[in-house]
């Protein structure tokens, strides 16, 4: 047992990292938060529409159990169920906590929290602060962490970059290698545990809704140090983003939650001003095809439909890859109060006011359901033991992951407004387990020989020295964009094995050309070039994980759509039939004539497919390539069944 405060290093100052820092300090620990930049600027601020919690403020009969079911179904049954259930049950507590911290959540006439609708559910379950909910939540947690900094229990290392974990002779994580982005100094931090809360990998696609820092480098380094990476191929494509040069800016799902309608002119050659096109000449394709969920089908469904409208039916606006997102039927006052922030952003970037003219949008890479493989500790009832040191631990002992960088909460497709919840949930939930982990250690970090740390430091010093000496002919930023273009063209909404095979070869080519990169800047002060080259190297390896996972998974599940393996659900199919079928099968008395024609065959194929593919993809770094294996998914609470939203 150690005779001092427990100390952890948290990498990343977004919602997960800040939530953990706050909780850990409250429990009398000492947390050091490492961040590329000032804490308030992390990517979590980009989340717009809201955060889910089944509080049932509108008396619709919503419950955490329904939230759990919607999340599991939205994720096409690929998420471990006990964890998701626990998250959904913690939702209301988390919202009340954030409210107590002063988040300016919109309120009802009586002054209670207000809720709105989001995709993949029929309930008003999403609490929101205008349309900048992520920003408001980050600020509240940032303020609490600043309070702990003021008290001396938390420390921040802003303008610092995490390079890798320090592993001892037994492979246990004992600290982190840190790079000061201003002085260029590389050094190590000793820690009882290290937590990666580093967010998603959108920059692998170069243009996405993600921020500049979202390279996935920290997670990829962990993978190259031996950590398992799970479900990499499940990349969420958000249906509505604003096309742009440097970035595809998000247009929140809340625009549809508040009544926004998606449509295209029925006639592809109709180039009239959208406001002059009469109702009956507009094709509200989501509403027609999904009369129950309408514009609020889950994101994977909406993105596929928009893609189909544009590329298969050639109905994009004026032949361009864009569709209308229309809010002009709502009053200006209503829109300003509930969506002001995002509508202003649209106006600023396009010069067009969405209160007056329908927005033009198209899908964009948005979120990674996959990430570092992490563990959890079940209790004796098969639920979650909040004190278990296993919670959120990667396959490297002592190295944890939380937030978008982990893989456990969203299965094959994330529901809107669940990301903020999963980030805060993981950060808060894991604190006790990390504390217990430190207590359980036989040997403390204080007893680890200093040579372990010296070696880790000099490894990275020489790595950065080598990078600075790279003097080839390739510009790293151009190479990054080429990688992004390859990924955007082949590993997006619609996937096929031929293109994926080609993609893997193209990535290998980029890897070869990477050796000929030129380090554009060799200054020893505030020089981002060597860091970027190291991040690019990581992105190349991460793109292999994503593309290879996609190539090998021969099925259609959630965001991973391979038309060649679509089981073609019959139009009149009811998912309850499948439950009946399973029951009858269990008792050995399947009555074929009871099911409409084609349904039984579909259900058999569905079940076979699940037996083969309802598994977590696990990538491990072997001989410079990802080696893919599969693991069982915990489906102990709800029987996996076909999804349906119409």
């Amino acid at each position: 047992m150690i005779n001092r405060k427990k100390k952890i290093v948290i990498v990343g100052g977004g919602l997960a990292g800040l939530a953990l820092a706050m909780k850990f300090c409250e429990r009398n620990g000492e947390a050091t938060v490492v961040s590329y930049q000032s804490l308030k600027r992390s990517h979590s601020v980009c989340a717009q529409g809201g955060i889910n919690a089944a509080i049932d403020a509108k008396n619709e009969g919503d419950t955490p159990e329904k939230h759990f079911y919607d999340t599991i179904k939205g994720g096409d049954f690929l998420a471990h169920q006990p964890l998701v259930r626990d998250m959904c049950y913690q939702g209301p507590t988390i919202i009340h906590l954030m409210d107590r911290m002063g988040v300016a959540f919109n309120r009802t006439g009586e002054g209670h929290l207000d809720f709105r609708r989001f995709g993949g559910t029929l309930y008003n379950r999403t609490a929101f602060a205008g349309a900048t909910t992520g920003q408001q939540l980050v600020y509240a947690l940032d303020e609490q962490v600043r309070r702990h900094v003021h008290d001396g229990s938390a420390k921040t290392l802003e303008w610092h970059e995490y390079l890798g974990a320090v592993l001892d002779s037994e492979g246990i994580c004992r600290g982190a290698v840190i790079h000061d982005l201003r002085t260029d100094e590389i050094y190590t931090l000793q820690a009882d545990a290290v937590v990666l809360a580093t967010g998603g990998p959108g920059q692998v696609y170069a243009r996405s809704t993600n921020s500049v820092v979202n390279t996935g480098a920290a997670a990829t380094t962990a993978y190259m140090q031996g950590a398992k990476f799970a479900n990499g191929e499940f990349i969420q494509i958000h249906p509505t983003a604003i096309p742009g040069q440097d970035k595809l800016r998000l247009m929140s799902e809340s625009a549809r939650g508040e009544g926004g309608r998606i449509w295209v002119p029925r006639d592809a050659n109709d180039n009239r001003n959208p406001r002059e096109i009469p109702e009956n000449e507009r094709y509200y394709f989501l509403e027609e095809k999904y009369p129950l969920f309408k514009n609020l089908v889950p994101r994977d469904v909406a993105s596929r439909e928009i893609y189909d409208i544009v590329y298969n039916q050639n109905l994009g606006i004026s032949g361009d890859p864009m569709v209308y997102l229309d809010l002009t039927h709502k009053s200006k006052e209503f829109l300003d109060n509930r969506l002001g922030g995002i509508l202003d952003i649209y106006t600023k970037f396009t010069g067009v006011d969405p209160r007056v003219t329908p927005m033009k949008i198209f899908p964009a890479v948005h979120y990674s359901m996959g990430g570092l493989w992490t563990d959890y500790g079940p209790d004796s009832h098969g639920l979650i033991d909040h004190g278990s040191p296993k919670n959120q631990m990667t396959s490297i002992q002592g190295l944890y992951a939380a937030g978008e960088v982990d893989y456990q909460y969203h299965g094959a497709n994330r529901l809107g407004a669940n990301s903020l919840l999963s980030c805060i949930y993981t950060g808060l939930m894991m604190a006790r387990g990390v504390m217990n982990y430190v207590d359980s250690l036989e040997k403390s970090v204080d007893d680890i020989p200093s040579t372990i740390f010296d070696d880790a430091r000099s490894h990275w010093e020489s790595r950065f020295n080598d990078i600075k000496n790279m003097n080839g002919s390739e510009n790293p930023h151009k190479l990054h964009h080429e990688l992004g273009d390859i990924m955007l063209a082949n590993v997006l909404i619609v996937r096929d094995n031929k293109s994926l095979e080609k993609t893997l070869h193209a990535i290998d080519d980029i890897e070869t050309r990477f050796k000929d990169v030129k380090c554009l800047d060799t200054a020893d002060w505030a020089n981002p070039s060597p860091s970027f080259i190291n991040q690019l190297y990581c992105m190349i390896h991460l793109s292999k994980i994503i593309a290879k996972g996609a190539l090998m998974r021969d099925e259609f599940r959630g965001s991973h759509y391979k038309p060649d393996f679509d089981l073609h659900q019959p139009k009149d199919f009811d998912p309850h039939e499948y439950i009946d079928y399973l029951e009858q099968k269990q008792y050995g008395e399947v009555t074929e004539e009871k099911f409409p024609s084609g349904h039984l065959d579909y259900m058999k194929r569905f079940q076979e497919n699940n037996e083969k593919w309802l598994k977590t993809t696990v990538a491990q770094y072997k001989n410079n390539q990802p080696e893919i294996t599969y693991e069982e998914v915990n489906t102990s609470l709800v029987t996996p069944r076909p999804r349906k939203y119409d």
């Binding site: 992390s42 002063g102 800016r249």
Partner: protein, 249 residues
């Protein structure tokens, strides 16, 4: 080559204490281009207009959609976010400089730590009992919430301070963004319990009475936060607090 280009002039500086110098770049003119996408083009081809290969310009940015507050700089002499500075709306050549009221780190990057330190000085947070489950937050009218929400959109970007004649590199003036945070937290039912501490922290040198009422802060705020309203309100609160302090001494 007949490709249309844009000329950008950048004020550069290698280190905090080193002299500054100017470089001019030509970048391709693309649809929807903004200042950040131009700087990204410089990264891809770090060659000046006179054909000299140089190190790429460095700048701060992250979200590229004006919610993170990172990419503040002087664009044609006006302080603003580089991501929302659309090339089509700017006079050419586009002139880029780092903010002048904060120490330069390198090129267009400056050190805004002072803003974050000020948040500690005024205890810009709510003193919650703990993050465990102790029930709901306070009931609050939506119009009060809406008032607070506008103020809480402050991204700590520094535009208001750059524009403020009272705020200089070497004085201790707290500035509009900090006063706005005092108002934000004093307006919350639980935050109000720390009101006296906050008001006492903004009395004296660098405090609210040093505001010269130039009112430019509110003009440059990218989030349209009613900063002058916040300053007036906090002035009033501070005056009452001073009287209260005198009477209870």
């Amino acid at each position: 080559m007949t490709e249309k280009t844009i000329t950008i002039k950048v004020k550069r500086q290698d280190k905090p204490k080193s002299p500054s110098y100017w470089q001019t770049f030509e970048v391709p003119d693309k649809p929807f281009a903004n200042v950040i996408s131009c700087l990204m083009e410089v990264q891809k081809t770090p060659t000046t207009r006179d054909g000299k290969t140089v190190s790429p310009v460095t700048w701060d940015c992250n979200c590229l959609e004006e919610v993170c507050g990172s990419c503040t700089m002087l664009i044609n002499g006006r302080v603003q976010q580089a991501c929302t500075a659309l090339v089509d709306n700017l006079e050419k050549p586009i002139v880029l400089e780092p903010m002048s009221k904060f120490p330069v780190i390198r090129d267009l990057q400056v050190d805004r730590e002072r803003m974050f330190d000020n948040l500690k000085k005024v205890k810009a947070w709510i003193e919650i009992d703990g993050s465990h489950d102790i029930g709901e937050g306070p009931i609050m009218p939506d119009q009060d919430r809406a008032k607070r929400y506008v103020m809480s959109e402050c991204m700590t970007c520094g535009c208001c301070l750059e524009a403020c004649p009272q705020f200089t590199l070497d004085n201790s003036f707290l500035g509009a963004s900090t006063f706005n945070q005092v108002r934000l937290f004093n307006l919350h039912p639980s935050g109000e319990m720390g009101k006296e501490d906050r008001l006492n922290a903004i009395m004296g040198e660098g405090g609210i009475t040093d505001c010269g009422n130039a009112q430019v802060c509110v003009e440059v705020c990218p989030k349209n936060i009613p900063l002058t309203e916040s300053i007036a309100d906090i002035s009033r609160q501070t005056t009452w607090q001073m009287i209260k302090n005198l009477l209870t001494k």
